[in-house]
């Protein structure tokens, strides 16, 4: 219990002292996770919506696969991305291993199925509601997808925040592809793992509370910006 209090105090000290290292790794955590979230959302939101409105031969199998991929083990994703980006791998020439870009790639792979799957479920219900109207208005598939994404944006926000939560708290994959290099690829989660390994539980806990505060702050900020719940249910 004492260690938890010490951790909370440590978190406050780190925040109020504006520790330079803390600021750096916090900003890098945000940069990596938000970039991954934006890229994953650009892929997953239209894809999840497209699956909801289209009927095609392997649709059920696609949805089942998407749902299964929500549980992708990050360590395995990290390993595969590592092999792809390593010097001997097919993309080794790009020199991306142990860079924030490699960490973003790994996080995109991890969170895209999660966002797409939640999107599909939300859009399936909205499509059932809108189906007859949008068919009758002779809309194109593109117009249908845009309409559903716009009108279902609050549900999609939940999908995006779930993706962000998974990305910001992820450690296995980014440790492998990022390498936890000080001043280069160290982020909050890998720093916590490092400090725990060193036995500095106070600092590790402090960083942990900063991570939780960061995740909450981003969630609140997105809710405030999008006015969720302020306009009530449609």
């Amino acid at each position: 219990m004492n260690e938890i209090w010490a951790g909370i105090l440590s978190a406050f000290r780190l925040i109020f002292a504006l520790d330079a290292d803390l600021v750096e790794i916090t900003l890098r955590s945000l940069q990596v996770s938000l970039t991954a979230l934006i890229i994953a959302s650009l892929i997953a939101l239209p894809f999840g919506t497209w699956i909801a409105i289209r009927r095609f031969r392997y649709r059920r199998a696609t949805i089942a696969t998407l749902n299964a991929l929500m549980g992708l083990p990050p360590v395995v994703v990290g390993l595969i991305v590592y092999l792809l980006l390593s010097r001997s791998g097919p993309f080794g020439v790009l020199g991306l291993l142990f860079t924030p870009t490699a960490m973003i790639i790994a996080q995109v792979i991890i969170i895209t199925p999660l966002i797409a799957s939640i999107t599909h479920q939300a859009m399936r219900d909205l499509w059932a509601e809108y189906h007859d109207l949008l068919i009758s208005l002779n809309t194109t598939n593109r117009q249908r997808i845009i309409t559903l994404i716009w009108d279902g944006r609050r549900a999609l926000l939940t999908a995006a925040l779930a993706g962000f939560g998974r990305a910001i708290g992820e450690v296995g994959a980014i440790m492998i592809v990022g390498g936890n290099i000080d001043h280069a690829t160290r982020v909050l989660t890998t720093a916590i793992a490092l400090e725990t390994g060193k036995g500095d539980f106070e600092l590790a806990l402090g960083l942990g509370f900063v991570l939780i505060a960061l995740a909450l702050a981003v969630n609140f900020a997105i809710h405030a910006l999008t006015k969720t719940e302020r306009e009530g249910r449609w």
Binding site: Y130, L133, S136, L137, T139, G152
Partner: protein, 235 residues
């Protein structure tokens, strides 16, 4: 420009069972056609076939022009109005946005139509939260805002109060006067008498009678139509 429609030997089957047809039907380019008949007669299915959103199992539909062009000139109002999760203004604007009408033109037409349907003061209210009568008027306004050649309505006045029914009928007569062909299903024989220029009587997926409204009500030719007009339950 309104257009004629012709159905030849059309059948719609679900799970191998015919729910409509086979039917042959000719609809002229003008007028208000009311499709009447008991529950389960196939009225909604016929309307959807005419609109081109229900696939036919057999037979052909001829809209006197290519299907894609014909569909662009059609609008459909559902029995339970489907409201986009947007404001009244955005619901009215939506069909115009789909076809790339300019923002200023959209604003002008939306404001004018909101006044015509009596929702001028409700433009910024969320459409899903307005009353049932207002929703149906909004659905009708949204259908008419693109000046359709043909307007299909599936029992648009079901469950509405008298005031809303009168408002909707007035809008329909206005649309008809400005050249829109109207094809509508109804359970309400009084409404049918008030509005119809032509009646199509459906029973068990078949057309039992088609003709001008006055003749139909004055002198129904089939026993089934006579029974229906008397209020008998038809099986």
């Amino acid at each position: 420009m309104a257009m004629s429609m012709e159905l030849k030997d059309v059948t719609v089957k679900r799970r191998g069972k015919a729910i409509l047809g086979p039917i042959d039907l000719n609809l002229g380019a003008t007028g208000i056609t009311m499709v009447i008949g008991p529950n389960g007669a196939g009225k909604t299915t016929l309307l959807k076939v005419l609109h081109g959103v229900e696939r036919v199992s057999d037979g052909t539909i001829d809209w006197a022009q290519p299907a894609d062009i014909a569909r662009q000139g059609q609008a459909y109002v559902f029995q339970s109005p489907i409201m986009l999760r947007r404001t009244v203004r955005q619901n009215l604007a939506y069909p115009l946005q789909l076809v790339g009408v300019s923002k200023s033109e959209i604003e002008t037409r939306v404001t004018a139509w909101a006044e015509r349907i009596g929702l001028g003061d409700a433009l910024d209210r969320p459409a899903p939260r307005i009353s049932g009568g207002e929703k149906q008027k909004l659905a009708l306004g949204r259908a008419l805002i693109r000046d359709p050649d043909v307007l299909f309505l599936d029992e648009p006045c079901a469950n509405l109060d008298g005031r809303s029914i009168l408002d909707i009928e007035a809008l329909l007569l206005e649309a008809h006067a400005s050249g829109t062909r109207i094809i509508m299903t109804t359970h309400d024989l009084a409404q049918c008498r008030r509005l119809a220029s032509e009646v199509v009587f459906l029973l068990n997926g078949r057309i039992h009678e088609q003709g001008d409204a006055m003749g139909f009500f004055a002198n129904p030719k089939t026993v089934e139509a006579q029974s229906f007009l008397k209020g008998d339950i038809l099986l």
